[in-house]
């Protein structure tokens, strides 16, 4: 199977900027992953390294147990187009070139998707708008039939109608032909129910690598009078505290099963759930 293993990877740019700092992760096959983090956290660097677009300063990456560097057989399993890739050709030529790289590329399916997403295949890809180009890349990815798809901001500039269609097509494609999909995005709310696993990067380090379900079961909020909230927070790990006037809400980093219900009742606090986006924001806050 195509398990991706990243072992102790560090990337330093210009001898001083550490984009990735000794990261190790295992990406299980046939699951949809969300790769989350703030601008400059190292998401794109990681994707570029996975596909050997750039080389790590140190560390190793294997797919299905095989080294990726200079290994065309392994690289042919991964589909990835960089965000700013220029493709100065007409569509039919792009499709043909895809077929050279990805022998299972489905040209008919790609044409059908282009039609459904209102992309005029008589144009050249370089004259597409940002949104159209995002869609075009996503179409190439879905039609590639590669075993691993890396999607970097797949809905950048795409209108909500087409975003919705694309998410649905992605799920349909994945249901019919299970594959590993890694989606790097800032639109966390939109992908929160689509991804099964989440990797959160902060300042070049992996701070979370877990399923959405277990991640969200390890966190809850309490709301109430500020001094009471502070009392509940004593000896509890918490990520973010926010308040209006005398009321405060805090995100507690503790399993829901360990809630102290009697203390909360005594202090007149209310429990709440945390959404993936809120949690990600709290965990990647500066400082």
């Amino acid at each position: 199977m195509n398990k991706i293993e990243v072992k102790g990877v560090t990337k330093v740019y210009n001898k001083k900027t550490k984009a990735l700092d000794n990261i190790s992760i295992t990406i299980e096959p046939n699951k949809i992953y969300g790769l989350l983090g703030r601008n400059g956290a190292g998401k794109t660097t990681l994707l570029n390294i996975l596909t050997t677009k750039i080389f790590p300063t140190s560390g190793e990456i294997t797919i299905g147990g095989e080294e990726v560097f200079e290994n065309d057989k392994v690289l042919g399993k991964i589909f990835y187009i960089m965000v700013d890739s220029a493709m100065p050709w007409a569509f039919h030529r792009v499709f043909k070139r895809m077929k050279d790289f990805y022998p299972d590329f489905d040209i008919e399916y790609a044409k059908e998707l282009a039609d459904r997403f209102d992309i005029d295949v008589s144009k050249k890809s370089k004259v597409l708008s940002t949104g159209e180009f995002s869609l075009f890349k996503a179409i190439l990815a879905l039609a590639s039939n590669a075993e691993i798809l890396l999607l970097d901001e797949p809905v950048l500039g795409v209108d909500p109608n087409h975003r919705e269609m694309l998410y649905k097509e992605m799920i349909k494609n994945y249901s019919e032909k299970p594959k590993t999909i890694i989606v790097s995005t800032h639109l966390i709310k939109e992908v929160a129910s689509i991804v099964e696993e989440v990797i959160i990067i902060k300042e070049g380090r992996i701070i979370e690598n877990n399923s959405v379900d277990s991640l969200l079961s390890e966190v809850y909020t309490i709301t109430g009078r500020a001094d009471n909230v502070d009392e509940y927070l004593r000896n509890r790990e918490h990520a973010a505290v926010d308040g209006i006037g005398e009321r405060k809400t805090a995100i507690i980093l503790e399993n829901k099963q360990n809630k102290d219900i009697s203390l909360a009742n005594k202090l007149e606090l209310e429990f709440g759930n945390v959404e993936l986006q809120e949690l990600c924001m709290a965990l990647t806050e500066d400082g």
């Binding site: 649905k168 799920i171 349909k172 994945y174 249901s175 129910s193 759930n273």
Partner: protein, 125 residues
Amino acid sequence: MLLKFKDDKAVYIQLAESIEDDILREIFNEGEKIISTTEISVKLKINPATALKGINILVDEGIVYKKRGLGMFVVKGAKEKIMLKRKNGFFDSFIVPVLGEAEKLEISEDEIVKMIKGAKANGRN
């Protein structure tokens, strides 16, 4: 079928409950086929593993069953099973919060009963 998920419960639990609702409302009838997991995931934009987890709750509770190669079907007697289960949870899910809110607003028990009777009479149930 429910189209918007709330954030107070896991998505797969809300999915299972909404299918139960559809069985109670006879949108899915006993002995008939329900919507497939793929259709659920695509329509509701949820991960297929989540959809499967939701369906599996219903399988474990004997509400739907799988016919190999054909899909998921509603068990005969499923509606009654769901009603019984929901009745058992009715007190905790509905009565307790009503009493809690009523206490905050200083609404008496008599007033609550009056409201319920009034709503029934106005056909607002």
